[in-house]
Symmetry: C2
Subunit: 169 residues, 2 copies
Amino acid sequence: MTISLYTASIPVFTQMLNSVSAILNKAAAHAAEKNIEPNALLQARLFPDMFPLIRQVQIAADFARGVSARLAGVEVPKFDDNEQTFEELQTLISKTLAFIESFTAAQIDGQEAREIITRPGTPKEKKFNGQAYLLSYGIPQFFFHVTCTYAILRHNGVELGKRDYMGVY
Amino acid sequence: MTISLYTASIPVFTQMLNSVSAILNKAAAHAAEKNIEPNALLQARLFPDMFPLIRQVQIAADFARGVSARLAGVEVPKFDDNEQTFEELQTLISKTLAFIESFTAAQIDGQEAREIITRPGTPKEKKFNGQAYLLSYGIPQFFFHVTCTYAILRHNGVELGKRDYMGVY
């Protein structure tokens, strides 16, 4: 018995995107309750040259879509990344979930050896097979931005716990 | 072709623990260069009820050891978690790497269906099979603490970039 590439990707992204959605709902409720301008959270950063909350969510969603699409060998969908509110971030997550959940296991399983090239044609071009692309690149990148989303909100006083981060598993 | 349980666990932990080691070396060098008391970083938190840097590193290492051991069905080694300096954290990471790299693929592969119970005998007891334990629990937990380590240091002005987080892949 071994793990299928689908199992190691889509359900992991789904679990964590649902947790990001729930975390953002708690953040929006916190802002409303405490009379906090939503942008104080949405534009919050852990350091001036780090990305703000909105961008962290956009990048997490982008990795979920991009990694799934590249594993399946389909075109990576273009998203505008122009969200400005908690509500728009929820729509982004819903659309991202709908996209990644549209893949069948058959589309992703068996793609472990597929050649995937990131930043093609640039000095940072890097070739992976599907398995290495997911495990050594996609998963670490995705979790980075999910955790930063949580960390920015915790740092700004939103009452969240590890349970919120972990989601339903 | 499918992913082996070993491939989805040990090399992932190894990549990221090596990156944590390099990040901590940069943090220690930054403290020395700027005349910063090392504890200002080691005890830094993103919020008062979050864990400080030292504890984040200890927990990341603990998940790497615990998840690997449970997948292989061997006893989880007890560590004292009494580190107080950057040097001691490096020793902790070295010992953790030595422990997880001692597993052969044969010890972990094929354990996808092994029953793993977290917090046995408590109200939070949860049963997993090996595959779900790794993908829906171990990996998210591990990356949380690795990313928090990075985020605490970035928040405190240590010059790090995503490349440092990603490590060698």
